[in-house]
């Protein structure tokens, strides 16, 4: 039977192959992100003012994609944690370590832009309600994961501890998502990802989705670049240990 020449997802398990793909994919994803964000923000800033909120709703084009990415990146990290513990995929812990600071940055952007948006619409920057508090907890979990990575010197030892913490912390992801349905909150209910379809007007929805796609490409570029850095850091560590052993 002839061998198929098409690439399978499993082929990415080879770090050298990943580095070759990343060299091409990083600039492509960065360029796609720049084009989509420029177009999305242009469309977003040329939509008519919202009836109740005036123009301040335009914070949505950065706040909502940041929230989606903060949750999405954590879900990706939980999948990578399974990859580390169950399938022992050689790039799973590299991806998990690289994704944590990026997820933390998007969670921080979500929290701060939400607080800034909250002041003119709710009359307060912060309220200890279900959505805001669970999002803050998600940010703190990200910080905990980053701290745990730094607490271990041996990356493979750290990977197992971090994978367990990541899976335990995953319980917060559905809490963030459904907090607006479970508790009475200041934060509005979901208006895009709903079983009965989006309730947002298409004039606002389409630039929002373009911005979300743009931020997703930015995340993809940053993740691959950070994974490449981590693979290089591990090579540096191996060579340093090797040199030290040879010196003795």
């Amino acid at each position: 039977m002839p061998k198929t020449r098409g690439m399978k997802i499993g082929d990415l398990a080879n770090p050298n192959r990943f580095l070759r793909i990343a060299r091409v994919a990083i600039p492509l994803c960065a360029a796609a992100s720049a084009v989509l964000l420029a177009y999305g923000f242009y469309r977003g800033f040329h939509t008519p003012a919202e009836r109740d909120q005036g123009t301040v709703f335009r914070i949505m084009f950065v706040h909502v994609p940041s929230a989606w990415l903060a949750l999405g990146i954590y879900s990706l990290m939980a999948t990578a944690a399974l990859g580390t513990l169950v399938w022992r995929h050689p790039l799973a812990d590299v991806a998990q370590k690289a994704a944590a600071p990026i997820g933390a940055a998007f969670a921080l952007v979500c929290l701060v832009t939400g607080a800034i948006w909250g002041r003119p619409t709710w009359g307060t920057y912060w309220e200890w309600d279900g959505r805001l508090t669970s999002m803050l907890v998600l940010f703190l979990i990200y910080l905990g994961i980053i701290a745990l990575w730094r607490a271990f010197e041996e990356p493979l030892q750290a990977a197992k501890a971090v994978a367990i913490l990541t899976l335990v912390g995953f319980i917060n992801v559905p809490i963030v998502k459904y907090s607006v349905d479970w508790w009475s909150t200041l934060h509005q209910r979901a208006s895009v990802f709903r079983l009965d379809g989006p309730t947002m007007h298409p004039a606002y929805l389409s630039p929002l989705l373009v911005c979300a796609l743009g931020f997703s490409f930015l995340f993809a570029a940053l993740l691959m670049a950070a994974m490449r850095n981590e693979l290089m850091r591990r090579r540096v560590r191996t060579l340093t240990l090797f040199a030290a052993r040879e010196a003795h």
Partner: protein
């Protein structure tokens, strides 16, 4: 009201821009540092051989 809203919008986009640019700069600087260290270590290994 519109001017006040513009201040909030500028603050939100400004903060997001600073955080995401800082992330990009950190990753680029880390890449340069790792590449430099790797080149030095590999040159040292090549000298020994």
């Amino acid at each position: 009201m519109a001017a006040l809203h513009s201040t909030f919008i500028a603050a939100a986009y400004g903060f997001a821009g600073i955080v995401l640019c800082a992330l990009v700069v950190w990753i680029v600087l880390d890449y340069r540092a790792q590449r430099k260290m790797l080149a030095e270590l590999e040159a040292r290994r090549a000298e020994k051989k």
